[in-house]
Amino acid sequence: MALTRRISGLLPPVSTASSSSSFLHRRAFSTDDTTTITVETSVPFTSHNCEPPSRSIDTTPKELMKFFTDMALMRRMEIAADSLYKSKLIRGFCHLYDGQEAVSIGMEAAITKKDCIITAYRDHCLFLGRGGTLLESFAELMGRQAGCSNGKGGSMHFYKKDACFFGGHGIVGAQVPLGCGLAFAQKYRKEDHVTFAMYGDGAANQGQLFEALNMAALWDLPAILVCENNHYGMGTAEWRAAKSPAYYKRGDYVPGLKVDGMDAFAVKQACKFAKEHVLKNGPIILEMDTYRYHGHSMSDPGSTYRTRDEISGVRQERDPIERIRKLILAHDLATEKELKDIEKQARKEVDEAIAQAKESPMPDEPELFTNVYRKGYGVESFGTDRKEVRAALP
C-alpha cells in the first residue's frame, strides 16, 4: 500500500521512492513496534451516557512515524489537488480535507479493513486511509481511466469496496442511513465488524440521521456515527444551524463521546472504544472536534464567514501533523531534518502520482454505457441523439 510500505522497510512497487527513504533504515524506530510510548490526549474525553475511555494511550515508534508520514502524504495530496483545480485539471466540485487528517489516521489505527467506513464528499483522505493510492485518487479527480471510479465518479464519488470503503456521497446526510445499513448487514451476517458512518456538523441536523439512529438503537446495530465537526456547514457556523451544537449528545438515548479530532491518538482511542462498545451495546456517536483549512469547496474562499486569524490560530495551536511532529521530536525518534525529508518525500510521491495520472487517458467512449446495471439483460440505452448513438446494456 502506498502509505505504509516505506516505513516498514519494504520496497514500494514504483521504484522511485526507495533511495531517498534509505535514511530511515539507519534508525531502529522505523520498524520498532515493540517499544511502548505512552501519550496523553490533549484534552480528556467528554462523554454522554457512557464512561469515557482513558486519555492515556500506548503507542510505538513505528506507529508515531506512520502517523506522521501518512498525514504528511494526505496533506500534500490535498494541497496538490487545490493547484490542480485552479489549473482546471479538476472540474466540478472539490472538497478538501486538509486539517482533518487525524480523524482518518486515528480511525484506521483502531480498526481493520473489514470494518466499514462511509462518508460524504470530503472523501479523498479517507480513501487513502483505506488503502487507496495517490494515482487512483489524482486520476479520478482528473477524470481518467486509472481513477478509482475509472473517471466516472469524480471527487465526491471515491469508493474502495475491497477495503470496505463505501464512498463518497454527494447528498448531505444520505450516507448516515446508508452506514446504518452497512451495520445492519454486518449484524445480519453475524460478523464481528462495525461501521463508521461519517458526517459533518452541517449534516448533523438532517432528519434521516435521526431516523436511522433510532432504528440502529432499536435493533442494536454496530453503527458508529462519527460527526466530523469542523464548525461550519458550508458557510454557516454551527451555532447558526443547530440549536444544540453538542453533537455528541444529540443521540439522546444513544451514548456519545466528544473527541479532539486534531489529536490522532484521541481519535484512535475513541474509535477503539467505540468499536468495542457497539459490538455489545448498539450505536454510539463520536463527535470529532476538527477543522478544515480550506473553504467548504474550491468555489468557497472560506474567509467570508470566518476570520483569517481563526484559521491561522488553529493551524498554529492544533495542527494534527505538528502535534505528531512534536511528539516524535520529544521522544527523539527522528530529527527535524529527517521529518522534513519525509515531507519532501511525500511531495515527491504526490508529484509523481500526478504525472502518472496525467498520462492516464480519459475513459473510452463506450464507457458512457458501462456499469449502468450489474445485469442489463441487453436492454437498449441511448445517447443524446437516440438514432445516432445507442448501446445494449450487458
Binding site: F93, A203, E367, F382, T384, K387, E388
Partner: protein
C-alpha cells in the same frame, strides 16, 4: 458588433436571435426605442426578487446560504442587508424540514420563495412539493391554496457528477397542481419569476447554473417593476418555416445556434422557447408544427418519459396529419451523468446533435441506427 460584454458559457447564446430582428447598435442607437441595456440572468433574478419583496411584505426568501453568504450562486445577493433576517432566512442543511416549513407558512398566507441549492436536493423534500403543496388546493376544495415558489438551479452544470446533474423538469411537470417554469433569457428570468411569486399556486422554478452569468439585452419594459410574463405561454425565439425545434433553458441557446447552422444548409428552423413546462403551451407547439410539418424536441433530462415524449404525444394526438417526418428527440443520454469531461460531453445534447436530428427530419441525411 454589439460591443457588449458576454460571458462565454457552454456555447449557449440568445443574442443571435436578436440579430435577426434588430440592427447593429453602432448605427442604430436612435432607430428604435428598445434595449441597449444588458443584464445577466443572475441580476435579472436578483432584481425580480428584490422588487417582489419590496412590493409585498408577505414575500420572504428561505434556503441554505441565501442570507449571510449572499447566496450559493449569489442570486440573493444584497437581500439580507435590505430586508433583514426575518425575510431572508438562512436554514440548516435540512431540505425536508425547511420545504415543509415553507409550505406550512404558505398555508397561513405568507408567500415563501424557497431556494434549493440545486434541484437534486429537492428530492429530499419532494413529498412536500407534491403532497403538501401541489395537491392541497384540490384536496381542500379550494380552501387552502399554496402561493409558494421553489426555485434553484436544475440540470447539469459542468463536471459535478451523477448526483448533482439531473433535470427534474419531467418529474415536476407531470404533477397536476404544480406550475413549472423554465426561464432561458434575462427577460424570461425576470418576467417568469415575478409571475411565479405573484401566482397563487405552487410554482417550481427551474433555473440553470451555467446561464446565471450570461448576459441578454433587456428593454425598458422588461426592467420596469411591473413587468410580468404570462405563465403557460411559450415564446417563438426564431421564426422559421421548415422545421420546429422546441427547447427550454440552456438548450434554447443551443437550438438557436443549431438554427444558424441549419440556415446555411437551406433549412429554416423555428425555435420555440417553452418557458413553461406546466402548463405546456400545446397550442403554440402544434400551430408551429402545422406550419413546418417537422419537429425536433431538445432537453437535457433523461429521455424516457421526458418533456420531448410529452410534446411528441401532443403533436401526434393533435397534428398527426401535418407531420411529414417522425418526431426527433434529442435528450440527455440514458445513463447517470459521468464525471470525465469527454463522457460528460456525450451525456448532454450538443449543437451538432440538434443539427443532425433536424436534417434527418428534413430527409437531408441518411437515417442511421448506429449501435455502439
Amino acid at each position: 458588433m454589439w460591443g457588449i460584454v458576454r460571458q462565454n458559457v457552454g456555447g449557449a447564446s440568445g443574442l443571435s436571435s436578436q440579430v435577426m430582428r434588430l440592427r447593429p447598435v453602432a448605427s442604430a442607437m436612435r432607430n428604435y426605442s428598445s434595449a441597449t441595456k444588458e443584464m445577466t440572468v443572475r441580476d435579472a433574478l436578483n432584481s425580480a426578487l428584490d422588487e417582489e419583496m419590496a412590493a409585498d411584505p408577505n414575500v420572504f426568501v428561505m434556503g441554505e446560504e441565501v442570507g449571510e453568504y449572499q447566496g450559493a450562486y449569489k442570486i440573493t445577493k444584497g437581500l439580507l442587508d435590505k430586508y433583514g433576517p426575518e425575510r431572508v432566512v438562512d436554514t440548516p442543511i435540512t431540505e425536508a424540514g425547511f420545504a415543509g416549513i415553507g409550505v406550512g407558512s404558505a398555508y397561513h398566507g405568507l408567500r415563501p420563495v424557497i431556494e434549493f441549492m440545486t434541484f437534486n436536493f429537492s428530492m429530499q423534500a419532494i413529498d412536500h412539493v407534491i403532497n403538501s403543496a401541489a395537491k392541497s388546493n384540490y384536496m381542500s376544495a379550494g380552501q387552502i391554496n399554496v402561493p409558494i415558489v421553489f426555485r434553484g438551479p436544475n440540470g447539469p452544470a459542468a463536471g459535478v457528477g451523477a448526483q448533482h446533474s439531473q433535470c427534474y423538469g419531467a418529474w415536476y411537470g407531470s404533477v397536476p397542481g404544480l406550475k413549472v417554469l423554465v426561464p432561458y433569457s434575462s427577460e424570461d428570468a425576470r418576467g417568469l419569476l415575478k409571475a411565479a411569486i405573484r401566482d397563487p399556486d405552487p410554482v417550481v422554478f427551474l433555473e440553470n447554473e451555467l446561464l446565471y452569468g450570461e448576459s441578454f439585452p433587456v428593454s425598458a419594459e422588461v426592467l420596469d417593476s411591473s413587468f410580468c410574463l404570462p405563465i403557460g405561454k411559450a415564446k417563438i425565439e426564431r421564426e422559421g418555416k421548415d422545421i420546429t425545434i422546441t427547447a427550454f433553458s440552456k438548450m434554447v441557446g443551443y437550438a438557436l445556434k443549431a438554427a444558424e447552422i441549419l440556415e446555411k444548409d437551406g433549412i429554416n428552423a423555428e425555435v420555440i422557447n417553452l418557458r413553461s413546462i406546466r402548463p405546456l403551451d400545446r397550442a403554440t407547439i402544434n400551430a408551429s408544427v402545422r406550419k413546418t410539418n417537422r419537429l425536433v424536441t431538445v432537453e437535457e433530462g433523461f429521455p424516457q418519459h421526458g418533456i420531448g415524449a410529452e410534446i411528441c404525444a401532443s403533436v401526434v394526438e393533435d397534428s398527426f396529419g401535418y407531420l411529414d417526418a417522425p418526431v426527433e428527440r434529442v435528450a440527455g443520454a440514458d445513463v447517470p451523468t459521468p464525471y470525465a469531461a469527454n463522457l460528460e460531453r456525450m451525456a448532454f445534447p450538443q449543437i451538432e446533435d440538434i443539427v443532425r436530428a433536424a436534417k434527418r427530419a428534413c430527409y437531408r441525411a441518411v437515417p442511421m441506427a448506429a449501435t455502439a
